[in-house]
Symmetry: D2
Subunit: 337 residues, 4 copies
């Protein structure tokens, strides 16, 4: 950590900062510049309460040197982690595709989609049972009934199941039915929910928050890992920007950046990242080319009658075409699908 | 609702849209333009599942005409609502100021701050017992112990208490100790938490999410009202933008806009909106001048040793000066403080 | 165009709006809803001064139906346009790669880079002679001397030349030396510069502004086309968002969206879009997979001594590897490189 | 400047960085941490080419210590600067209000507005003669004819004149007619235009760019000062964010932040910052309360027939009411109006 002192900071102020740092267990190294002085603080004290130094007399700014996360970073674990989702490895050479309807509506719909996506090579079925909706008047999901349908269809088809959990009170319940717990974008900083998921033995798919920096996203993953669950899959699903032509802006840069910073696998949700099925094809290809470990795509047999997010769902035929088109891209970046 | 058809949409496609809308109970009125056709759908069907029309052949876009909220809007309730927080009215002619430390640390600290802010005319004591922190390694609050201290100090001083609740499981517990439940920015779209707060008999202070539009914020309030609790206080606390000089960007525009759209009171949190105590003074004055119904300000007797957010906390003397300086501004906009 | 009237708008107010619209040459079609009335205005009057209707009594909002551009849209020209840049077609089956240093520094440097990029299959040499720099104290470019070097190296190698023009006074001068005029992100809404480039007989590479919507970007292109120059190449170079891990956020969604809205070719600048050479590889591949017509990449023989933007420049060897790696991606999306 | 080395950087890499820095004239001070090493570089070398160090082996990041500007900062000039605009001081105790139509339309319109705003105490007349418009089909201004009208009305009323200049070729021409040159938001990083304005003897009103950080805005001002013109007035006019309820988001925080960083006066344009006349009143009051040195407000006698931006223009009566309402706010912050 580096403390930058204000122009004209007094020797006393500099020494007070040094004393404070030493009290926290740091060694200090002041560098006296022509105009400003900086104080280097040596010691890996990630837990030390240093943010308030900004309030000391003569202090202009604090510059952290160490990343704020430990378990998700590449310092301790250098190799890419492979997360096992009910027998399906995520993060290895083989790409993983999760597909299915935004919301679980009924058994017939779910079974139809499940069978169709299975034919294409998708390994994991997605479907919402608890839906976080912007409006209290929108369909909120079938809840436990939906979980049961997911489990049933999963068993029948051999597909693994991922579904969102939105309430700390439901983590245990959802864990009983599914293979992967999904923490949605709006819950990325629901720290109690992260901690509960950290106590589960199921892998956690952690979506990036609408306005979360990559660092905040990794810190959210750190919550889960530090609570005891090492199996986290990151999911980029678009961020909120000024652009209104699309629902969100897919942050494609985040893929190589996250790959550099963390050993955790990262997949992309092109459905939410664009908000329109017409653009899912292009950005799915882009995501794989950029190095993503997989995709999560909304597929619905009859999007114009979907209970939620129909406008961004692919029909099964379009999805099958996309899966085929992804093969040569995967090969080009030395992956399989 | 208006459906905009694509250039070249066929008569059949237009009629299909009309049929679909009529099936939902709307009357339809197509307008055939030189290049494009639009279909007007008449009927107040806020609950109808219309979003998927975007997926129908020939449809380009959907334009809602009605706001998506009912209870928080000005259509049903024209007058400003006044929320009663344990006897303190919020939203009336008298401005309300909430102040206190970011986190409750110990009884002495809390009592010291409480007495000092009371002298200045503040009516409500703030202090976090459950702290949502970006890092799992940061201080997470004293939890129920903190609630007890808050209640004790509240009773001793006569100040009303506001504190954040972050977990659905804690709503009942927190409601027992405090006068106002706070839903934080990161929980603004924790819809289950909103629903739980909607069942409480305590008023709810609803902070705006970091990247929430004003409409989404009002929809979050609608969750609380529609669950049965009409006592919501909105709190603008800065939004996330590209500017890095400040922690957040205070959206001062949001005050007159929200006042126009909703009858609920709105206050401002200048501490989070700036992230630096040096700028709290200026934007507090600005908020009152813009028509806010009050302020929520972090005050700490020794900010450089605060357990959380010390850099944005005012010392009690600075806070007292600010309270004094706000008086003529309040008068200038026909308010009292 | 649709005019949405406020709840409770009077019949007189509705009729006034109709009269105003009729005065502009529109036919009007009011639709009386249960709560609100909307007025449809029929007639393609893109030039009509309708924005001020918002100021009329009883008006809540105006919804445009037609896109504001004509020449760049797909309504008049359905097929993709192919821009001829000194004999190199841009926008056809073959992808085009532009590469070179951020700034032209000296003949030796430029010749070295030019020869190396030519070997890899790049067809166009980029290099800044006029540099728009954030600081007045940074290197501003060799100006006309730089243009001469570019022309000389272009002639010697057969590479076509693209360089930025930043001043209306220089358009003619720059046009004499180069094959493509570049309008930089900071100039995207320098409308006088756009008009001057519209009078040139050279193609124009139009970078997207840091905070420009796709619609504004297309409107900037419309300026050039409407001034008489149909040869515009769009260049996505990242937009400004809250994310600080990267210099900009590459808006990969913009590729399929722009392809849908306009017939103009679109290329991507991964160097500015990421700001770090380490991430250029991944997002270059992503851009081609998403359907871009080409790339513009910064290449410098000795990035740590570059006069500008060294941190985002590839060394020639890395660039050669990337060019090779792009081949199978291009094939996968039915393109050549 | 501090260079942060990567975890595991070799002694050789550290020494290479030191040598490089020493070659630029810096003294170097390495601090060896438990995990990482940082290298402090002492010496005020704002002009040194240090950005490329990021490209050296083993380097993780560079942290500047000094602000990149000199002339606009508070290090050399501690007191607030007062800019003289044709006899009207800007930045002193007395607030200055600039008002008038978005675009100059005709003499009668301009004279009517001028007389009305003069009665209210406004000292400066605004009006666009060269209009930067998003669409090439929108009204682009009366150009020199508009300048002549402004000068005529200015002479007749005694009001000073401010108008925008958008082209380097017009700076001299515009300087002949007006008292203040305005550089618009879209031109804030038109560096050639800034340099031309820096050679003028007229003060320059520098609007903040739509997505400009405060630091970039100050660097734009530095261009003007470093070219010889010390008379710059900053104008906050809203930034671009995700919020769509308003045209822009007024960054009220920018007022105290800019006041801390620079000695230049700063005013606010509430018309563009909100985009809607209904909210101009509230944010004008807020701006004065926050410490702004003045306001620039659009006023039009018949907004629904304005040639440009009618939706955000106040009618003269509303403007007169606002001017009256600002008086007690100004007094409350020890200013006059």
């Amino acid at each position: 950590m580096i403390i930058i002192m204000k122009t004209g900071a007094s020797q006393k102020q500099i020494e007070d900062v040094e004393k404070y740092l030493q009290g926290l267990g740091f060694n200090t190294h002041p560098i006296y510049g022509e105009v400003k002085t900086v104080v280097g603080a040596v010691g890996d004290k990630r837990l030390a309460k240093t943010e308030n130094i900004i309030h000391m007399e003569g202090v202009e700014n604090i510059v952290p040197i160490m990343s704020p996360y430990k378990l998700v970073g590449r310092e301790l674990i250098h190799e890419n982690s492979i997360v096992d989702a009910g027998g399906v490895p995520i993060g290895g050479k083989e790409l993983v595709v999760m597909a299915g309807p935004c919301a679980v509506e009924d058994e017939e719909q779910l079974m139809e989609v499940a069978e169709k996506i299975k034919e294409t090579g998708a390994k994991i079925l997605r479907g919402g049972a608890f839906k976080p909706r912007t409006s209290p008047y929108s369909f909120q999901g079938l809840e436990e009934e939906g979980l049961k349908l997911l489990a049933k269809v999963g068993k029948a088809t051999g597909l693994k199941i991922v579904t969102e959990v939105v309430d700390t009170r439901d983590v245990e319940l959802v864990s009983q039915y599914v293979d992967i717990l999904q923490v949605g974008a709006r819950s990325m900083q629901n720290f109690k929910l992260l901690s509960e998921c950290g106590k589960s033995d199921k892998p956690v798919l952690l979506k990036r928050g609408l306005s979360a920096t990559i660092e905040e996203w990794l810190m959210a993953a750190e919550y889960i890992l530090s609570a005891g669950n090492p199996n986290v899959i990151l999911c980029e699903r678009g961020i909120r920007t000024f652009e209104t032509a699309t629902r969100n802006t897919l942050d494609i840069n985040a893929i190589p950046v996250a790959k550099e910073l963390t050993h955790l696998p990262i997949i992309v949700d092109p459905s939410h990242a664009t908000g329109n099925w017409r653009w899912v094809d292009a950005v799915s290809k882009a995501s794989i080319a950029a190095g993503a470990d997989g995709l999560m795509i909304e597929v619905h047999p009859d999007p114009s009658h979907a209970a939620s997010d129909g406008q961004q769902s692919l029909k099964p035929e379009k999805f099958a075409q996309l899966m085929k088109a992804l093969k040569p891209i995967a090969q080009a970046v030395d992956r399989e699908i």
